[in-house]
Subunit: 265 residues, 6 copies
Amino acid sequence: MRENKLKTLWKNGGVAVNGWLGIPSSASAESMARCGWDSVVVDMQHGLVDYTDAVPMLQAISQTEATPMVRVPWNMPDIIMKSLDAGAYGIVCPMINTPAECEEFIQNCRYAPRGRRSFGPIRAVMYGGSDYWKYANETILTIAMIETQQALDNLDAILKVPGLDSIYVGPSDLGLSLGFQPGPDPTTPKVAEAIKFIVDTAKQHKIPAGIHCAAPAWAREMIGLGYQLVTLGNDNSLMMGAARAAIAATREGAAAPAQKPGSLY
Amino acid sequence: MRENKLKTLWKNGGVAVNGWLGIPSSASAESMARCGWDSVVVDMQHGLVDYTDAVPMLQAISQTEATPMVRVPWNMPDIIMKSLDAGAYGIVCPMINTPAECEEFIQNCRYAPRGRRSFGPIRAVMYGGSDYWKYANETILTIAMIETQQALDNLDAILKVPGLDSIYVGPSDLGLSLGFQPGPDPTTPKVAEAIKFIVDTAKQHKIPAGIHCAAPAWAREMIGLGYQLVTLGNDNSLMMGAARAAIAATREGAAAPAQKPGSLY
Amino acid sequence: MRENKLKTLWKNGGVAVNGWLGIPSSASAESMARCGWDSVVVDMQHGLVDYTDAVPMLQAISQTEATPMVRVPWNMPDIIMKSLDAGAYGIVCPMINTPAECEEFIQNCRYAPRGRRSFGPIRAVMYGGSDYWKYANETILTIAMIETQQALDNLDAILKVPGLDSIYVGPSDLGLSLGFQPGPDPTTPKVAEAIKFIVDTAKQHKIPAGIHCAAPAWAREMIGLGYQLVTLGNDNSLMMGAARAAIAATREGAAAPAQKPGSLY
Amino acid sequence: MRENKLKTLWKNGGVAVNGWLGIPSSASAESMARCGWDSVVVDMQHGLVDYTDAVPMLQAISQTEATPMVRVPWNMPDIIMKSLDAGAYGIVCPMINTPAECEEFIQNCRYAPRGRRSFGPIRAVMYGGSDYWKYANETILTIAMIETQQALDNLDAILKVPGLDSIYVGPSDLGLSLGFQPGPDPTTPKVAEAIKFIVDTAKQHKIPAGIHCAAPAWAREMIGLGYQLVTLGNDNSLMMGAARAAIAATREGAAAPAQKPGSLY
Amino acid sequence: MRENKLKTLWKNGGVAVNGWLGIPSSASAESMARCGWDSVVVDMQHGLVDYTDAVPMLQAISQTEATPMVRVPWNMPDIIMKSLDAGAYGIVCPMINTPAECEEFIQNCRYAPRGRRSFGPIRAVMYGGSDYWKYANETILTIAMIETQQALDNLDAILKVPGLDSIYVGPSDLGLSLGFQPGPDPTTPKVAEAIKFIVDTAKQHKIPAGIHCAAPAWAREMIGLGYQLVTLGNDNSLMMGAARAAIAATREGAAAPAQKPGSLY
Amino acid sequence: MRENKLKTLWKNGGVAVNGWLGIPSSASAESMARCGWDSVVVDMQHGLVDYTDAVPMLQAISQTEATPMVRVPWNMPDIIMKSLDAGAYGIVCPMINTPAECEEFIQNCRYAPRGRRSFGPIRAVMYGGSDYWKYANETILTIAMIETQQALDNLDAILKVPGLDSIYVGPSDLGLSLGFQPGPDPTTPKVAEAIKFIVDTAKQHKIPAGIHCAAPAWAREMIGLGYQLVTLGNDNSLMMGAARAAIAATREGAAAPAQKPGSLY
């Protein structure tokens, strides 16, 4: 079975720079995947992407060295299993707030005896190889999103669920849940503290943690905290940021204004 | 944040004439949205529409004055949140039969602390404005469908769920549930009685009620009863009704036969 | 090979009531095709339909008794041959103004030795039958649009081109070409005269003529003149006409206003 | 309402040869449906098919004599009801492991009073007929997949759930669940024994059973055991098998190698 | 008819900053159109966009203040007329090298008596208004690309063709034609000279000229030369440029490297 | 620039086994491309494929070792250049009957100074590499179809056109043009003779010739004659052939009947 490079990178203590795809197009997916990301995530939750769009996007990404992953819209067996069958090498699952939810998530991702994933890896064998059935459980990454107060309260128990490979922080939802305005790269002390708490706790469990970032500077801070995967905005926010900067530079003749390459969410 | 015109209309005691879209095409969606409806609903339940189709339909509608809404296929967090992120200004949710189901529905539509909606309004900020995060909870309409005997029994409790903005009657399912043949514009006494009971009860809670109609005459009756939103068939039934009438008028040379602009469902 | 019912109808002196599809959706195509039309035309010229949309539309139509046809965007070999391979049983070709253009059109539609159509009826054999190759030249309808002053001048010569099965009048373009405002069901004497001239000339050549209409009343007039195919608006205009009428009847409580079931084009 | 030919076939003690569609295309769906299958299943679980793709596939199939069915990705009301509204004449539901799950499945497929299916058969009335509402509950097939040890343990109770029309064996998942390698046409004694147990138990309940096969020889064995529906691989595995055989025969000049027309899943 | 803001801007001596869309998605089209461009061009020549994609892109753009235009793949009547019917307010046509080609281009864009455009503005009336037929010829922009030595030789004659509204320089093709490497923002003296020659000649004919640019600095130079429309790369190059810069800034910790917001073509 | 493996194979005297794609789906395209073909052709002429479908198909193919090519629907600049920009490494062009047509074909495929191809290889640089502009003219294959009596008459002159890389025989059209029934693997002496004549003449010009075949046995004969590329049916015919064989073997219990892996065209 084809190696999961992101897993190997993490095993070696490396940090992944991760791309995020919210535009439902295999054309933009290929363009993004060719930019040098270690991994890319097709976002079926907040991106404008549904399964019909995701399949050719995964095919387009699979031409490149970037590890293809999917963020599913919710912790549900149908879309998790469909995404895996289509060749996703990792599933990012939103709103894992309790160990029971995490257990259900893992079971949706794993074949028996560990889980209840149904067998039929129609495209996954093409990307992964004919021995996919044998190594899938240990190769595919399960990544639970930690993004509420409840998840913070249960963090230790969640991290103990067997088969959980990684966690991922959604700062906007985390901020909202803690009572603050949503937004990227939060500096509110309580939120910042939670972000530090999450990675510290994960390290105790030897589980690599990732986080959604906007500005490279903030991503570097997160790496400094110990995060091993940083996402930089998404296709849409990068495009819009660059477009607005170029328009402003042309209209105003000023130097390209300091552009925050990432948007509100 | 952009005003929700339907909400304003209701606040002023007005009645909305609502269009319904079951054809999965942004072309027909734009045509319908330009006909003068106060609001239009992309029907992801009984229409042949899935999320991949719904996104360009919502974009097409957003060119016009009609308030864009979505009927989701079921009370589930994934599709409700995806529809909201795509810019729906109202969610019509089928089969709300108990206050617990209604509470779950509201939570799927609202950000913390009221609900569990995850943050990432990728297109919603484009349609709604950059302060969307702040006003979404009070701007987006939650519309629960009342269409079973069980819902009638629980109506009072359902209407008390905080955050419920409106209810909507599906006469076919209501008829079926009460033991009669499904169909539009029902005149069976027991169903008619239920339809009156629903709007009367809603009025006691100061909650505007809507109903699916076929013929304009029946819609006017419903307005007479106090309904503040009436849907007139759907894109498909209007097209087929007009086509059949035009064919008959051409073939038979008769005056266009009295055409019931709406179909069985 | 499956019979071409429209051809048979014409042979027996019958008149076809024809539907017109401009919405790029197999869902609306099926709905229209089930309304009782003798034939339906997928409009790749002024409809919002391209080949990717047309294929499933033709499949949807092929469930019904209506003869499936395509209006191509221009007299070009690529799209004419692709439409035929996809199973169209007739091609309506715009802007045939000279016998040379007509000859080219026929050659695009016919296999050797009559024409230059390339062989590969991938879906056409499924709809037509395995002996398609043998009978296609005599079964598939070639329908040239007559819609300019130049075409009027050359009408006799155009009608003499071997293999031409029918002609079709586009009243809006004809009106424009003669110096008047475009629009359906024209009553301007010069345009009306041309419309009569066309059908009279066609009759002399024993070639059935068709015409695009909006109102059934006008279609009946055209049948009176001898036209053997009348189109009634299109999917979009029928839908919008019905929607506007239903809205008005609901809002104003008036009887459904006299509705012209067809739009400007 | 249009007859369900598969149901009639079973009633007469016949055996259905069933096609399986995992390629999300109405073009390949039509090609497959025209090959002579008694029924075909659009696979929304392990196929690369989502609802947006399934609608034109069902339209394409409906041109033919094959009974159109859908395998849904999971036992969920949204996709089951949407598939039925789009005209599926049977639902294959994966992972029915308990009578409670089976009961929920049946309720998702049936109108009141038996179930909770919501009314709006937008395309189903086109395929089924205008009295669809009346006969749908007794015409549409409900087919529960038996594919785990737990389902074996509960088989008797599952088969007693009123309204269950048929069961269907997924040998790969069954093998996995029993502790063996997944794969088609299993000969492992314990799995083979389970396969025999299932059909024998079903016969006691007079419920026809089906099974997924790869090689025709194995399908014939299954028919010998009493299975009344056998699926032969899927569109994708048939195409790939034939392609590989043709390439090998061309390259090696050998006779076409014995080809196993079906793949791993 | 809705005003053509780009035409008005030019009439007032203004300069348009123009966006360019090569990603076939209505989602990215909306995002780009909301960035503040004066106009945006859907690129059906070198973009990965075909007509099926272009229709919802034009709908998405039409929500905004940006003037929607299309670059057609070649000077052909079918796609030019289809693009106009879909609501394009300007056509950019590649490779206009002679006055005869320019005349043909204009005829493809204009209704009789000036041209041969066929009448059927199915979506154009929705965007433009019901008097579209009357004002289209004077409202829709015709923009001929000047990008070869032959075009330079014929520039004067091309600019005299009645109905030509603007010209547009493709620097890569121009460079290739003059014998140099293709690429954006060329500084090769011979190419730079040609670029100056073009705008100077256009000014003599009082025809506004546009040019494809990559860097804002170069666009400002072009404005200095008198160009009245400057395009800044395209959606794809802006996205990739921003992604690569963000990755580099994260990996290397360096300041975001000087990014050339535009790619090779 | 990425090597063109097919060109290299031919240079070394090798024979290519070529796959053919008529199903408009990136899913089936990937499946086919993974079967071991040396090259695959996306058929935009007789396949049900348009440009919108072709782009993700080319992306899917590009994951594999098979050289991606496109058969265009006709010798036209728009679709040839669009296909090249999308990453096709070879263009198969139907109906090249004269040296003038061949010259026009070559010019559509080549950048200046050899041709008139416009510059903008948006996806081609991703597949080919950033020096694409420099080596494209010598890397991309131009393959002219020889399939009429006229082409036979002009064969020598056609083969002399500079820049022509290969020719390709369409036996069905050739048969039709010579006055026989179309069909694969023709044995009619006059057609067989022409097929031999073509490859012999090509050899004199040192130009590799290819031919469309159905049965592997016939393909081997063609290789024996000196053909250096043989196509084996297409995705659709392979799938249908295998499906029919499997159904027959199941129903009749006979050995799988001798199956002709390819259909009429």
